[in-house]
Every structure is written in C-alpha cells, then in structure tokens.
C-alpha cells in the first residue's frame, strides 16, 4: 500500500491486515511506555486545510507513538490563508523531504490529487476530503465493532453478516461513504435511514438497503446503529424543516434507545449534537462505543501509518 485515499479500493486482506496490526498497536497504547521506535527518522505532516482538532490530535498521537517526527500544518494563519495553493504547499513539503502527508481538505478528491498530481512523492493518508471519504474513520469504526463482537479473538475476523444501520445525513457524509465500502468489503450489511433529501438521488445503485423509517430500523434489531452528525446549515438549505422535526423522526432518543437490544452498539463519529441526532442517555449508555471509537482511532491510525511508511512496501517506489 502506497496511499490510503479511499476504502472503496481497499482489498479485504489489506483491511483485515490493518485491523489486525491495530490490535497490536492497542496493546502498545495500554503499556506504561506507549512508544515504538518503528518510524524513527520519518517525518509526517498533518496538513489540515479544514479545522478538525480531534482528527489531527489522533493522527499526531499515532505518529508520535511510532516515534515519527510530526509537523502540524493548519491552513488558518498560514500561507494557505494568503492564497497559496495545494500545489505550492505540496511542493514545499516535497522540498523538505517529508515522508508522509496526512491531509484534511474541504474539497472532495484533494487527497487523490495530492497523491497523483506528481507534486510530491510522499505517502498520502486521506483524513477527510470534502463529502468524499474519511477512510481511517471507517477503519476505526470497523475495528470497534469487531472488538466488541469478538474481543481478544478479533484477529483475522471480518464482519460477516453484521447488520449496520447508518442514520442521518448520508448525502454530505464522508463517514457514511467510507463505512459503506469498508463494511461491504468486510461482509457486513448496511442500511441507510434518512429523509430522502439527505440521501443521494442514486442511492439505489449503492450496495445498501435504504429506508426512511427509523422506528422500523430500530425494531429490526441491528447489531450496530451509527448516528451521523447533522450540521445546522442543512436546515437553512431546507433539507428538512427544523431541529425538532429531525430529532423526532431521525434522532436516537430515549424511547428508541429503550427498544434497542442490549447488545446493539450505538456509534457516532463525533462531534455530537446531543438532543438532536442523539440523546444524552444514548450517548452515555453502556451500548455507546463513542469513547472507544476515539481510543481505537489512535490504534488504527498507528497501524495505517505503519503499513504505509514502515514496511518494505512502504519503502518501495
């Protein structure tokens, strides 16, 4: 693997290999000295054109636990805000001999362009590009699901037959896209639940079941319910009438929580709008994996950086 840009082109063996290595990384993170020498002498840049403190911190911790040198580059207050282009930034990093670039960008395909335009030779990790993909989020979600299901016996397993219901703004969600492709690759079944305005018009061509009725989806007792964040600007663009109606129809409220099986996982990529797409009780319920997702994010990102930057394949090209 040279880059991680999308889960759509991630082979099953590669995905499972990343998840298995993440298990090893999780062990490192539980030690007193949480550090491996693996990426000593390598430099990783967190290139964030869009603000995301959580994701950036997760990547930073991951790289540091592998002993990489980490540089954080945020667009705000940098030359980017003075009009410097992605190309110029990339060429600047190339001139500095950077080994890996973790990129978050508001434009879909920016990570792909960075990897393929010939501006820089480094390994590229997509940390979220527009409304396209967020592959490490999907990997950490899959890791979280697998761990809850199989615990210490997780290594080598896929998610065959697991039913995952993803609720909310699928249209604009890079998390939903990356999860769909990865979950399918790992054998899970995906169901989207949302108002029709927040589903792509061509969603019928995707390998997912689609429904509008959250109550019916809850009563189908899926193994996982994943709630997506609703952004307030969607309301102003008339995707739905207002917060109250959205919460009533598509929010995971206490009543719906109570109808979920005790074993169903409640997931959310964060940051949450408590009281809108998810109630506080649901977020804090034992079924919620939200804090595990954060912890697992570090392990999964360590694994991704390891596979891209450390192995013989990483050195190739």
């Amino acid at each position: 693997m040279r880059h991680l840009l999308s889960t759509a082109d991630l082979a099953r063996e590669d995905a499972i290999r990343i998840l298995d290595t993440a298990e090893d990384m999780a062990e490192v993170s539980s030690r007193e000295v949480k550090k491996l020498p693996t990426l000593r002498g390598r430099t990783v840049v967190n290139l964030f054109f869009e603000d995301s403190t959580r994701t950036r911190m997760s990547f930073e911790v991951a790289a540091k636990r592998l002993s990489a040198d980490v540089i954080n580059f945020s667009a705000k207050g940098s030359s980017v805000s003075k009009g410097e282009s992605l190309k110029d930034t990339a060429q600047t990093l190339a001139a500095m001999g950077i080994d890996g670039v973790v990129v978050r960008h508001g434009a879909s395909g920016a990570a792909h362009t960075l990897a393929h335009a010939g501006w820089i030779d480094a390994h590229v990790v997509n940390a979220g590009d527009g409304t396209h993909e967020h592959p490490t989020q999907a990997l950490l979600d899959a890791f979280t699901i697998r761990r809850r299901l199989h615990g210490a016996a997780s290594r080598g397993r896929d998610l065959d037959g697991i039913r995952v219901t993803i609720v909310g703004d699928v249209l604009h969600s890079r998390v939903a896209r990356s999860n769909l492709w990865l979950l399918r690759t790992l054998g899970a079944r995906v169901r989207f639940v949302a108002p029709a305005t927040l589903l792509p018009t061509a969603v019928g061509d995707w390998p997912a079941e689609v429904g509008y009725d959250l109550d019916a989806a809850i009563d189908a007792a899926p193994e996982v319910v994943m709630m997506l964040r609703i952004q307030s600007e969607r309301m102003h663009d008339t995707f739905f009438p207002g917060e109250r109606e959205y919460a009533r129809e598509w929010g995971l409220d206490d009543a719906r929580l109570s109808r979920l099986p005790k074993t169903t996982m409640v997931m959310h990529p964060g940051p949450m709008n408590r009281g809108l797409e998810i109630s506080s009780a649901a977020a804090d319920d034992p079924r919620s994996t939200i804090l595990e997702q954060v912890a697992n994010g570090v392990s999964v990102r360590m694994s991704v950086l390891y596979h891209l930057l450390a192995g013989p394949e990483g050195d190739a090209e």
């Binding site: 395909g109 792909h112 409304t131 018009t201």
Partner: protein, 438 residues
C-alpha cells in the same frame, strides 16, 4: 511591410474532394472562389484531402478584454485557424463585459487586425451578465460589430420575465438569444453530472433537470412571443427530447452540442483531474449517444466548441476549486470526425453544414451559405481524414493548454486554411501573425 506572395495572385487547389465527394479543382483570386484561370501563381496539391468550407464557431471564449492571461483575440483566432475555423463568435463574458457598442467594436476590430478569422462578438443579454436588466442590445446590433447573437453564457438568464423580454426585444434586430440553460438554484455548488458517480466521488451534482427545465421553459416562451431561441451546449438526452418536441411544434429553436459532449463521459471525473471539469458537465454514455443521434437527425443543428481557455493555475488544484472549461478549437474537427464521421452518423457534407453553413446562418454571418461556390468568399479548410496523431500541446495554438485530449489518439488533421482568400494554415503549419495580418 512585405507579405508572403502566397497571399496574392491566383491560387489553384488541385484535386480536393469537395465536401468529401468527387475530386475537383478550386481557384481562388482576390479573396473569392473564381472560375478556372489560365495560370496559377500558387498550386496546392490537395489530393486525398477533403475540402470543407471554413468552419464557423458560434461559441468561443476569446477572453479579451480582461482575461489576457488566458487568451487574446489574436491567440484565440490562431487556435481557431489551426483547427480549420475562419469565423468565431466571441462570447460576452469579458471584462468589461461585451454589453456596450464600444466593447463589441473593440473586439471585432482586434479580430480584423489579426486576420486569422472573422470575429463576430456576441452581446450580453443583460448588463454585466447580472440577469437584472437588458443590455444595450440595439446599440450593439447597429454598431460596426453588427451583433446578432446575444448571450449571458456562463450565466443563465434565469428570470422568466427577463428572458421573455429579451426574446421579444432581440427580434427587433433579427437577433437571437443564445441561452446557457442552467437553473441556478438547482445547481448551487454543482461540480459534475448528478448520479451514482457524483454521489460516490462526493462531488455536488449538476442534475440534468436543471438544463432540461430551462430549455422547456424557454422553447415555450419562444413559441409564445414568436422569437428565435438558440440553446447553447445541450448536454443531456432529455434536452434532445425537449428540443425535438419543440421543433415538431414549429418553434424557432436551434441547438448546439460541443465536441466534448459528443465524445467524453463523466467517467473521466473518477481521476479528479480538473481538465475534465466543464460546464455543463460531462454526462453519461447514454447522453453521448442521444446527442450524437440528435445531431445526426437534425434535432441539434450545429457543433460549437465552447472553447474556454484557462491558465494552468486554474486547473492545477483540487477539482472543487478548479475553473470550468476546456479549450476546443484545435481539436473540434478531429473529435467530430471520430464521434460522427467514423461512426457513419454524418458525412463530410453534413460536417460542413453543422460546423459552417448552419452556425453562420444562426449567427447571421454572410458568405457561408453556398460552400465552395464560385463567387463566394474563399473560406476554405483542407482536411486530411487519413492522418492521425496523438494529440499534444504542440497541437494547441492558443495561450492555454486545458485540453482534455492531450495524450489521446485523434483522427484527421487540418492541412491548409484560407480565410477570405488569405492563407492562415499551410502544410499543417500555422502562419506567423505578420504573414496573416492584412
């Protein structure tokens, strides 16, 4: 100033296949086709070449004034000549906008002094292309630029009342409104054709209905007020159906398709390479096939390039940040050969119609009604359909290189071009400005 002697005297073009038919000789003198003479000052061997009338592009962006880093009238008409064109209609989205007599006269004059092609400016429909109030359409029509085509291209005349008024008002001057059919509200932030692919790539969709609904509205308005309507760059199968229906009702509507919509599909967006970002966007294979059929059966009248030069920095970025548009003058004839002639949908006489006489008729440009006829202005393009090439930046002669065909094998080659009897391309090489300028 000395001119190439080839620009004067009697020229004999020997043995060209006229409109792809039988081989015959053409004689040129004093800028027009003439009866055979006793002797020629210059003889051009045209055996194996197809003689076409000089091509006419109803939809070109020359960018001057205002965006000279992308193109100028000189560089854009050089690109045109190299592609076999002898006339271009220059879109109004310059800076300042071509919405006054002064600006359109300036653009026309720049074209005359360059000499590579006749430049007919298109006038803006509304002041500053803002879609608020009518531009000085009458002043532009009666100016020395004799504007007959009015368009806010790049922007849609979205307000239905303003569109009605524009259609009615241009009728006064035998003009036509060329509509960029794009409902602005249905295409906010749009990046590519809306469908499964746009959803997967995370690029905001540009739905076909945003084009089709405006065309449907406009043909009904044109019918109601008895005006002429021209539809720019039709890109969807549904649009072809709407235009076909309108023509069957006797509505005075004409339509154009670009070469790229006849050949390329949205699949190219998978690369996120902004060279493939264009407005309207590349559509599906089904749309491409419907457009080809529409052009073949006359529903779509003409091919127009929508030549849209952009500097490198406008395309060397993420897709969502890139400018819309492709250069097209240099590659149009080759693409039409591949998409329409090689497929048997058009013959060369049809190509002459859709790329020369019909666009001239829509734009009220004289001199193209009787292609290659004695007495007509000598606008002539000799095309070698048997030649082929890997299209490269050396084939581009404008100021910008944002072509989607670079590195692709394209058939045919423009070998010689005369604009009003003066050579602009000889032996597949573009003549220098001082050889072409009058």
């Amino acid at each position: 100033m000395t001119h190439d002697s080839a620009q004067h005297g009697v020229t004999l073009v020997r043995g060209a296949a006229l409109l792809g038919g039988g081989a015959a000789d053409l004689w040129i003198r004093d800028g027009v086709f003439v009866e055979p003479a006793d002797r020629a000052d210059l003889t051009v061997d045209a055996a194996g070449l197809v003689a076409l009338p000089g091509l006419v592009d109803l939809h070109t962006h020359l960018r001057e004034p205002g965006y000279e880093q992308s193109e100028t009238v000189l560089t854009g008409t050089r690109a045109a000549a190299s592609g076999g064109y002898t006339a271009v209609f220059a879109m109004a989205n310059t800076l300042p906008v071509q919405d006054t007599a002064g600006v359109v006269e300036q653009v026309a004059a720049l074209g005359r002094s360059a000499g590579y092609a006749t430049v007919r400016p298109i006038g803006a429909v509304t002041v500053g292309l803002k879609g608020e109030r009518l531009a000085e359409i009458g002043a532009m029509a009666s100016s020395r630029a004799r504007v007959r085509v009015f368009s806010d291209d790049g922007m849609c005349v979205a307000d239905p009342l303003l569109m009605r008024r524009a259609l009615e008002y241009v009728t006064t001057f035998d003009g036509v409104v060329a509509q960029h059919a794009q409902d602005p509200r249905l295409t906010v932030g749009a990046q590519m054709n809306e469908g499964e692919r746009s959803a997967r790539l995370g690029l905001a969709g540009w739905p076909a209905v945003a084009e089709e609904s405006i065309i449907a509205r406009d043909v009904l308005l044109a019918e109601h007020v008895g005006a002429r309507l021209h539809v720019c760059h039709v890109s969807t199968a549904g649009s072809v159906d709407v235009v076909r229906w309108a023509k069957s009702r006797g509505i005075q509507v004409t339509a154009e398709v670009t070469p790229h919509h006849l050949l390329l599909t949205e699949a190219l967006a998978e690369s996120y390479d902004p060279r493939y970002k264009v407005n309207p966007p590349l559509r599906t294979q089904e749309d491409v096939e419907a457009l080809r059929r529409g052009l073949a059966d006359g529903t779509i009248d003409i091919v127009a390039t929508d030549h849209a030069p952009h500097p490198a920095e406008a395309k060397e970025c993420a897709w969502g940040e890139a400018a819309n548009g492709m250069v097209g003058l240099e590659s149009a004839l080759a693409v039409v050969q591949q998409a329409m002639v090689a497929t048997g949908l058009l013959d060369w006489a049809d190509v002459a119609r859709v790329m020369s006489s019909r666009p001239a008729e829509i734009g009220r440009l004289d001199g193209y009604a009787d292609p290659l006829a004695v007495g007509a202005p000598a606008h002539l393009t000799l095309h070698d359909p048997a030649a082929g090439r890997t299209f490269a930046t050396t084939d581009l002669h404008g100021r910008s290189a944002n072509s989607p065909y670079l590195g692709i094998e394209l058939p045919g080659r423009v070998v010689h071009v005369w604009h009003a009897g003066r050579r602009t391309v000889a032996d597949a090489a573009l003549l220098a400005p001082e050889e072409v300028a009058p």
